[in-house]
């Protein structure tokens, strides 16, 4: 089901890409800012929402997921190295799942640590745990979405950016009830549900968030597998 050779090669390729490496300062920024607030004794209620949610959950998490998710298969399709993978006797399901494991693995690891440590500066250990688990969930859902997007469109980063900024960043918070279709609300619902904190505000229950997350992951992964099964390679010179 999961091909470790693909996972290993994919992770290695990721760390060789400048686009990914350029993003790594962002998680550091989240942790650094939270640490500063702690050092200067700013009241937790003042900075928890803007830094943890506004920057961490709403921006850095989807952005990292997008760059990584769109890279693992999308970049290979762009530069043509995907041929090496496609001309192997591997079920397309195995390829997609392995790519997803690589993408989600990297994102989840980076973001769970980032959000966990940043939230730990609030002094609420439970919130740190909750946000770390939320990051795991969010990283997985976003990765599934963006891997699928990279197989549907040749411009996954552009479309992904629009989605992150306009839907997740704006509309999901403005439209009533839109939270049920927003990954960042799933993250916050799970973090709140686990930690029982009143620092974060969310109108979604944890069970709904979990069910919706599972649905999105399954649907997006299914779509990605299907797209790779009928993937057509077009020649440059005909």
């Amino acid at each position: 089901m999961i091909n470790l050779t693909i996972v290993r090669t994919t992770v290695r390729a990721l760390f060789g890409r400048s686009r990914f490496l350029l993003l790594l300062p962002l998680p550091v920024l989240v942790v650094g800012l939270a640490g500063l607030m702690r050092v200067f004794d700013v009241a937790t209620t003042e900075w928890a929402i803007p830094i943890l949610v506004g920057l961490g959950v709403s921006l850095v998490l989807p952005l990292l997921s997008l760059i990584v998710g769109a890279s693992v298969l999308g970049s290979e399709i762009d530069d043509g190295t995907v041929v090496h993978l496609l001309t192997k006797p591997l079920p397309r399901r195995e390829i997609v799942l392995s790519k997803l494991v690589a993408a989600a693995g990297v994102t989840v690891l980076v973001m769970a640590v980032t959000l966990g440590v940043a939230a730990w500066f609030t002094g609420e250990a439970a919130l740190a745990g909750g946000l770390a688990v939320g990051a795991v969930l969010g990283g997985l859902v976003y990765s599934a979405l963006f891997v699928a997007l990279s197989l549907v469109s040749r411009r996954p980063v552009l479309i992904g950016l629009l989605y992150v900024l306009i839907w997740e960043g704006l509309l999901a918070n403005l439209l009533p009830g839109a939270g049920v279709l927003s990954v960042q609300h799933y993250v916050l619902a799970v973090a709140t549900g686990i930690s029982d904190t009143d620092l974060l505000s969310v109108n979604l229950s944890m069970p709904v968030a979990l069910v919706m997350s599972a649905l999105v992951v399954v649907a997006a992964t299914g779509l990605a597998i299907n797209r790779l099964q009928v993937f057509r390679l077009t020649g440059e010179t005909g």
Binding site: R12, D79, G80, H84, L233, T234, G235, G238
Partner: protein, 325 residues
Amino acid sequence: MTAETLKASATADAPARGGAPAATVELSHVSRWYGNVVAVNDVTMTLGPGVTGLLGPNGAGKTTLLHLMAGLLSPSRGTVTVAGASAWRRPELYRILGLVSEREAVPEYLTGWEFVLTSAKLHKLPDPTAAARRAVELVDMTAAEGRRIGTYSKGMRQRIRVAAALVHEPAVLLLDEPFNGMDPRQRLHMMEVLHRLGEQGRTVLFSSHILEEVAQLSGTVQVMVAGRLAASGDFRAIRRLMTHRPHVFTVHSSDDRRLAVALLAHEAVQGVELDPAGGLTVRTSDYGTFTRTLPAVAVAEGIRVTRVLPSDESLESVFSYLVAS
């Protein structure tokens, strides 16, 4: 079709000399278009064991044809089968098929050895290390295998890609412009490798737009022009079959003017021109007759012919003729 039956049908084909499994690639009335552009137009061909050249100018549809055979494209019309089973949407195909694509894409962060070994592992071969070792030796890349691919020359990249494509010893090997970027020595070596694979009974197809490559490597050729299969079979035979096409020779002799007059008397000769720099340009409608007539005329007239050159034997002239007809 399962992997087992595929393997069985692959080995059931003609027994190969070197013991390698043989497989046939068959295209039946295959067309492929992109929107309004027809890339491949009603092509029917059968490829058996041995080396075949796929010849054609750039944009003739060679890459599209190779991708159709490799199961990376679906035909818009017609059927493509490899070892008796459809090529499209069948990953098991790659147990018996290898492809070296035209785009030079290689993961540059890997060393040559890692790249070939990864390929062997993805094929789930029982002994990937031994298979990778064999493949790297075959393309003569052992000395450079520890270097990152990013540092390789064009020819070296091409060879390491060939190694990765045949690490599982496929019965069918498809190569898109494999000699691009190679120096003459590397070219010669690659030709030897392909020859050996063909002699082992593998079906080897390589595309090229350069006549000399095909002439040196394979007698059997499929000529593509503007998406169509313009000719197929032995290259020299194809060339000779085009009897309607005027052939042009450059002839140098001890007395060009007298030879010109004598040649004009013959029906096979359509025109003669005296070149200011010396020599004659002779146009003939019949290759065979002219090559017999010329010595006879020279002997009868007592003229010594010092040089006869077929001046239009380039691929471009063959192509332009095929396109025009």
